[in-house]
């Protein structure tokens, strides 16, 4: 598309990048067809092409964002389905990230919105605080009906019934490889996931060690920055990312690392983009090095190959493709191939490319659209009659789990089980 940025505007690296992206878009409309919000709402403005147009108009005219533009951009899940679909390779992720930052800097949200966002940004990335909040939410649930805001009700609903005790495995330490060491890897233990479900990291560590990996939990790591990044709070997200980059750089330059293993695909998409986030700054080289080492757990396991995967019951597994994995990182077949190699029957639901509506904090900020997407996702998954549902992202697991009686586990828990680990917690009571 034609763009009308001035040379002065293009001097800003972010604007130059957005201009480059907009120039690639030919407005063909293919992306509309695979956009979850367009499918639900049926309005060009809630499609990638419409949002690209809104962003272009806002940035070109350097105008104060209006309520409507903000509404349509807020409704974007950042599922990146459009990027898989786009034939001309429009990098929508960098464009919408720029728009979110621009909105955060130039738009004054209504007070309840600001408070909600502030609270989320102050709680979710910190496992200790988030755990306390979950306990509070659990206590508050009986009073749910008294709460006027749908978003606050959604937050209460998110709290799981059983809130696990913190896992000692998540503290900084080194786990020795079992047998000869094949790799030395770091594990991103994450933030919200640590408060919601400690089984995932435990299973990941067991699985990696069993396959000859020395697993390092580096000191000084925390949230990857994705949660605040998607709110446009660049200062906070970059601070999180920078802390991780420094911690990992120390490991890389010290005992060395073969990979940074990530088992929450939402984080993986962001960490793999660290190079872009810090482009032109002093951390650029280190950020690029970390980004290049970042691997989803399934990528690492495909590389290692499963050994002796004979221990699990060969269940029918409904595989839910997390958007951050399939669209954000382009990892589609690997998790399914691993599950099949582990003896499971892998079932794929119809419209597997469509988001479940979790999308980071989206289920909290946009409960109505999120609930509709959840209902659709659960229906297509249940139509495959699975005995268990597996996914590679904690957000999707919580979202889908809250809508179905079928147990939901992380892919890594099934792989751990199949190679000699314990039966996943969620399957203890199942047949």
């Amino acid at each position: 598309m034609q763009t009308t940025f001035t040379p002065e505007q293009l001097a800003d690296p972010l604007t130059a990048r957005s201009n480059e992206i907009l120039r690639t878009c030919v407005h063909c409309g293919f992306c509309t067809a695979t956009c979850p919000t367009y499918k639900v709402l049926g309005d060009e403005l809630d499609s990638p092409r419409g949002r690209i147009y809104l962003i272009k108009d806002m940035l070109e005219n350097a105008r104060v964002p209006d309520d409507k533009t903000v509404t349509h951009i807020d409704r974007c899940l950042s599922c990146l389905s459009c990027m898989t679909t786009c034939p001309s390779g429009v990098h929508y992720m960098h464009l919408v990230d720029h728009a979110r930052e621009y909105i955060e800097q130039n738009y004054r949200r209504p007070l309840p919105d600001r408070v909600l966002r502030w609270v989320l940004a102050r709680i979710l990335p910190y496992p200790g605080r988030f755990r306390l909040a979950l306990l509070g939410a659990k206590l508050g649930r009986p009073f749910r009906r008294l709460i006027p805001d749908a978003r606050l009700r959604a937050m209460l609903d998110m709290a799981p019934r059983d809130i696990p005790a913190p896992s000692r495995n998540d503290s900084p330490q080194v786990f020795a490889a079992q047998g000869p060491r094949r790799k030395r890897v770091a594990l991103l233990t994450g933030c919200a996931q640590r408060a919601l479900n400690t089984d995932i990291n435990d299973a990941t560590i067991r699985l990696l060690r069993r396959h000859g990996c020395e697993v390092v939990i580096p000191r000084g790591m925390g949230c990857c920055g994705a949660l605040t990044h998607h709110m446009g709070r660049t200062g906070e997200s970059h601070a999180f990312a920078a802390a991780n980059i420094r911690a990992l750089t120390a490991e890389i330059d010290g005992a060395g690392l073969d990979a940074l293993v990530i088992n929450t695909s939402g984080c993986g998409t962001t960490v793999k983009d660290y190079g872009h986030m810090f482009a032109g700054g002093p951390l650029e080289a280190d950020a690029a090095r970390v980004a290049a080492l970042a691997k989803d757990i399934t990528e690492v396991m495909a590389d290692l190959g499963l050994t002796d995967a004979t221990h699990a019951v060969p269940l029918r597994v409904g595989y839910h493709a997390a958007c951050s994995l399939q669209h954000g990182q382009g990892i589609k077949a690997t998790p399914k191939e691993l599950l099949a190699a582990a003896g499971f029957t892998v079932l794929e639901p119809r419209d597997s490319h469509i988001c479940c509506g979790s999308a980071g904090t989206y289920n909290l900020m946009q409960p109505a659209i999120s609930a509709e997407l959840k209902a659709r996702k659960v229906a297509t998954l249940e139509a495959t009659s699975p005995q268990v549902i597996s996914a590679g992202n904690i957000g999707c697991m919580m979202q889908i789990g809250s809508g179905t009686a079928v147990p939901v586990v992380h892919t890594v828990e099934l792989l751990d089980w199949a190679t000699g680990g314990p039966r996943p917690q969620a399957l203890r009571h199942a047949a």
């Binding site: 030919v26 063909c28 293919f30 108009d57 679909t85 001309s88 429009v90």
Partner: protein
Amino acid sequence: MTIAMPAPDAQVIAQRPQIVAALRAVLPADAVIDDPHETRAYECDALTAYRCPPLAVVLPRTTAEVAAAMRVSHGLGVPVVPRGAGTSLAGGALPTADCVILGTMRLNAFLDIDLANRYVRVQSGVTNLSVSAELEPLGFFYAPDPSSQLACTIAGNIAMNSGGAHCLKYGVTTNNLLGATVVLTTGEIIELGGPEPGPAGLDLLGVLCGSEGQLGVVTEATLRILPRPEGARPVLIGFDSPEVAGECVANIIRSGVLPVAIEYMDEPCLRAVESFAKAGYPDCPAVLIVEVEGSKAEIDDQIARIRAIADALNPVEFRESRNADESLAIWKGRKSAFGAMGRLGDYICLDGTVPVGQLPHTLRRIGELSRQHGLEVANVFHAGDGNMHPLILFDANTPGDLARAEAFGADILRLCVEVGGCLTGEHGVGVEKRDLMGDQYDPDDLAIQMQVKDVFDPGWLLNPAKVFPLEASAAHRAHTAPLAAAE
């Protein structure tokens, strides 16, 4: 911008608040959009060189809501521009400043699937591909498959009488459309055709299909469905020159073999699609995708005959698809060709049709014109039925470049007419080819077409300033409008 649009009706613009209020009174709250920041996203379709934000946008969910919106617009004398998914490459859904855009994308329900009588009835805003996807588990499909089938709607397909790769064997939309519910400009709802084949009387459905939103808005459609073939296999044939590839197409058609599709892509296009689809296309100046279908024996036999024809022309490569994944990648690349060309730069996409025997000559002349105009051109098209899609590359951010590209495009389309073809195969005339209609039709032909428009839309409120050259329609209206008003 070299294609002129008429000045908007100042009276309509002045009435804007009343128009929006009247639409709001008959439609749900979320179905009327008038915020200027929001209407801007509707200012163009896939032909982005021409843009104009509409006065308002309406997004109805039912035939009754479409009719209500049409009644309001008609009553207040407001032009209506129907819009499917906005994938038109000819500016078929380009708004005017005084118009209401009527989007059909929320009309997306499947109403009836009747396998015994082999039809499906849908609301018109369903996407083309979703029809076949819905039918796939049942073993059926809907044949017309425009390259934008992932996104484009049945409503838009009917408006443009869309074709697609597989139309060589199965025909275009008009050959697969059985019936339609149509809302006329007055808001009156009529039924044309139906599930039973060959209704008596005038073929008004045939008039409607391909009328580019000039006559009415289709809200529901009954579509012919077909059983899926036992199998299908594409082959890739690479050639050293476009002309020889063109000759191969003509020879295949002449031999009596009927492949389901013969597609052509040249080197610049192959470069763009390979980086998206990774189908392993041959690296040479021109490639044909020829697909045959049927039982394995039928496929083998047809491919052997095609191979013999191709071998006589010394192809660089002749490769059969080995499995379903490979076939999928081959078609994914072809179907995404227009979008993928965005990797190379801005372009305008043409849509002329020539007799198949004229393909080698036409390709040669396009090459000459390209050098003459100093602009690169990529060719990708449905070769089997001579439906060409030259893509002219230019730089939208360089002033004057678009005009040069358009002049080149006009020369190519005139060339198509000159060799016995026509201006459009499947994208429609829209605004893009409007001013070239005089090269194809003489004034009497155009007058008769405009008289048909008079019957359906006496006030000329539907999809204004498209299809008919402005001077021709203005002269016609100067003559007929007073008569219509007097009645």
